[in-house]
């Protein structure tokens, strides 16, 4: 983890509520796809943890959804704004376990970290399939960017207004041998229950610090202990996960 000052290069709406922010600065503390950064937003006490979508050289791309006042303030940030950002947080996805033909399962604003992961897997010479789920056609973002990488993309929408009607889990291929997923909790649980192979799950949590100090985001794990979403996570292997209640 490193505390860096990053400068906003651009900040554009991709849909009504999903924005793409590109930031420049020292990104050397990021080592794997699926890590996150924690942004100090002026006027708000806690930082905003945002997953990394992509890193190209010294340019960091984040996709975030406006859900509250903090992300509203982020959406209003202008190019040139300097931000205090904790970089290189979390464990990220492990590409070594992927097998020959990994499947990516993304839901809504859980999709961004899978983009960087897709690039890493493709760079290792592995063909990548992705199922990207949205509520409705007008909420679709980044499916073309995945296709441009060479990913075999299937889009699902809950209302059937684009792609296949249904949830990501309704489009699961029978020949999946290993998967990576990120999305809302109900989706992650459905993926857990409907897949027959192993995979890696990226979780979201309300965090205090984002770097392992406050224990605000601890999850029980299958070994009877607990892990911090921010520190040992946010990515957990399927075998580690315990669903409470």
């Amino acid at each position: 983890m490193k505390q860096e000052t990053l400068t906003v290069l651009s900040n554009d709406a991709l849909t009504k509520s999903v924005y793409r922010m590109r930031l420049a600065g020292d990104l050397s503390s990021f080592t794997r796809p699926g890590q996150f950064c924690n942004i100090a937003v002026p006027g708000f006490y806690l930082r905003r943890p945002i997953s990394v979508c992509d890193i190209e050289g010294d340019v960091l791309t984040l996709l975030y959804k406006v859900v509250g006042h903090g992300t509203e303030a982020m959406a209003a940030m202008q190019p040139g704004t300097a931000l205090d950002v904790l970089c290189g947080l979390g464990n990220g996805y492990d590409t070594a376990m992927s097998g020959d033909r990994p499947l990516l399962l993304g839901g809504g604003v859980g999709i961004p970290p899978l983009y960087g992961l897709a690039k890493a897997l493709l760079a290792e010479g592995k063909p990548v399939r992705a199922i990207l789920g949205f509520n409705t056609a007008e909420e679709i973002f980044f499916s073309d960017e995945f296709r441009a990488l060479g990913v075999d993309v299937t889009v699902t929408t809950a209302d059937g207004s684009a792609g296949e009607k249904g949830f990501v889990t309704d489009a699961l291929p029978a020949d999946c041998s290993y998967f990576y997923t990120c999305g809302p909790l109900p989706m992650l649980r459905a993926v857990y229950e409907k897949t027959h192979t192993s995979g890696q799950f990226s979780f979201e949590a309300r965090m205090g610090c984002g770097f392992g100090a406050c224990m605000g985001c601890s999850m029980k794990t299958a070994d009877g202990g607990y892990k911090r979403v921010c520190r040992e996570g946010p990515v957990f292997r399927k075998e580690e996960i315990v669903w409470e209640n």
Partner: protein, 303 residues
């Protein structure tokens, strides 16, 4: 003695800055970022007899000036703290550490304090008789003078190291409780623990935190904590660790004028991992600005 040095319950510290329990883990997350030996000391994560997972998630809610937490004393338990955490800490921290303990019975407090008292690394015992997050038997010991005195006398009977009783602000008269601790033999008091609070998510109409309520900390607690330190200083003669919303070297100095011998930094560590280090480094500048020669000389100066 240097300009920043203070003596807390007979132990000299290089400076009065103490990252507060629960915001600094067992130290080594921060030791990866900087040499934590620049701190006066730190108070490690509240340790209980048994390992505890703590409360369900979400445990954190943001406020306009701070946060509410309901962690629920997550910790690995005393056995692993002694066998694993303290040896790991010894590699990165070479000063006496403040050992924070929490119990659910007088017997548990006694066992925890007696065992940690024997650990060479431990300088002070900080006895949390106030954690508002744990739903166990209703009131905490720290909510009545009698309860506070009972725990104080019991832990003092089995320890040789200074016992600092950590007090809750969620009481009618914190001064009476501090006096009860002093009368029962406490070597010091630390105050304040977090203030009971809650937030409700307008999208669901439900409390943000799974535990419904939690402890508020952050800059808005500072004037309240300062007032309580000031009142307690006027009434007791044992040293005070002033805690609550401290975010800057200025806050440290203000807290010392009110009567604190040493000063805890809590929530600030969560939003800036370097907060405590920056505060230590900024103290000489602020002292010079206000014509303060030594910190020891200003303790209780506002009384």
């Amino acid at each position: 003695m240097g300009k920043l040095n203070v003596t807390l319950c007979g132990i000299e510290m290089d400076n009065p800055v103490i990252p507060a329990s629960g915001t600094f883990g067992y130290g080594y997350e921060f030791a990866e970022l900087y040499d934590i030996n620049c701190l006066g000391t730190f108070s490690f994560k509240g340790t209980t007899k048994e390992p505890r997972y703590g409360n369900p998630l979400p445990r954190i809610a943001e406020c306009s000036a701070g946060l509410i937490n309901a962690i629920g004393l997550q910790n690995p338990g005393i056995d692993r703290v002694i066998s694993e955490e303290l040896p790991k800490l010894a590699k990165v921290f070479h000063k006496p550490v403040m050992a924070n303990v929490g119990g659910f019975s007088v017997e548990e407090y006694v066992e925890l304090c007696a065992r940690l008292d024997k650990e060479e690394q431990v300088g002070w015992l900080e006895v949390n008789i106030s954690c508002p997050n744990v739903k166990k038997g209703g009131k905490s010991y720290g909510m009545t003078p009698e309860g506070a005195a009972e725990v104080t006398a019991a832990v003092k009977a089995v320890t040789t190291k200074p016992c600092i009783m950590k007090l809750t602000p969620n009481v009618t008269d914190i001064v009476a409780i501090a006096k009860a601790c002093e009368d029962a033999g406490a070597d010091g008091v630390s105050l304040i623990n977090t203030l009971y609070g809650m937030r409700i998510d307008l999208r669901t109409g439900r409390p943000v935190i799974a535990n419904r309520m939690g402890g508020y900390s952050g800059p808005a607690a500072f004037p309240i904590a300062l007032r309580m330190v000031y009142q307690v200083r006027a009434a007791v003669n044992i040293p005070i660790v002033g805690i609550g919303g401290v975010s800057s070297a200025e806050d440290v100095i203000e807290m010392m004028y009110a009567g604190a011998t040493a000063v805890g930094v809590g929530a600030a560590n969560c939003i800036d991992p370097y907060a405590s280090k920056k505060i230590v480094e900024d103290l000489p500048r602020v002292m010079e600005k206000y014509g303060i020669d030594t910190l020891e000389s200003i303790i209780g100066g506002a009384q």
